[in-house]
Symmetry: C2
Subunit: 129 residues, 2 copies
């Protein structure tokens, strides 16, 4: 087994276009031998946001601290307030974004599958997994 502390795990800037003030800690991923899904911790600074984007794999998210909004839904226009103890399931292909609307950091865990576009030959490693 592997036991790690979030605060002792290195954070890297989320360099994806459209991200602002976002860092990621890869807590459990492919390099740890995770066969099916990866656990990442994100921290978004006040005023920051993740990219407003979509992709053909899902997110499962737990908000740890802070206040924010998530945009998603089948229209890509649904906006919901989020805070500590909220869980978000973002299905594949929904246009989505997480924004920090508070005065402190917005911290959340975001799980993704380790592979997507799965088929006989088309399996791809999920970015950030």
């Amino acid at each position: 087994m592997l036991v790690k502390k979030i605060e002792q795990t290195p954070a890297t800037a989320m360099g994806v276009q459209g991200a602002k003030g976002v860092t990621m800690r890869l807590m459990v991923g492919r390099s740890d031998g995770a066969p099916n899904f990866a656990m990442r911790q994100f921290e978004v600074e006040p005023g920051g946001h993740t990219p407003h984007h979509q992709h053909n794999y899902e997110h499962e998210v737990l908000i740890l601290d802070g206040r924010g909004e998530v945009t998603g839904g089948v229209t890509g226009q649904e906006v919901r307030a989020i805070g500590a103890g909220d869980v978000v399931f973002m299905p594949a292909n929904e246009l989505h974004q997480f924004r920090n609307t508070g005065d402190g950091p917005l911290r959340f865990m975001c799980m993704v599958p380790t592979r997507f576009d799965c088929g006989a030959d088309g399996s791809q490693p999920t970015p950030g997994s």
Copy 2:
């Protein structure tokens, strides 16, 4: 997208043999359309524990509150202290148990794949997913 609050999600007793004082909230699972993995929140009362067992699928765990110990490792004898902010990756087939050694509830998120024993015909829905 789906947005849920942990505290508003019904808890059910973990009826598995060897569990003591454990309740589970299924936050995101197969019934929500989760295609690859499920997110569950567990609460273990002081003195309680999950079953001392093994299975051929992995856990990815985030400790939210409380103090405890996790047993695992390739020998099944490794014991590590756990508290808020700790992440545990428990690979498939390791004998493992989570115990509450504190005075308050031990709360953690535990993610599992939604299917295991995957093969042409052998895929099974993971219990509690």
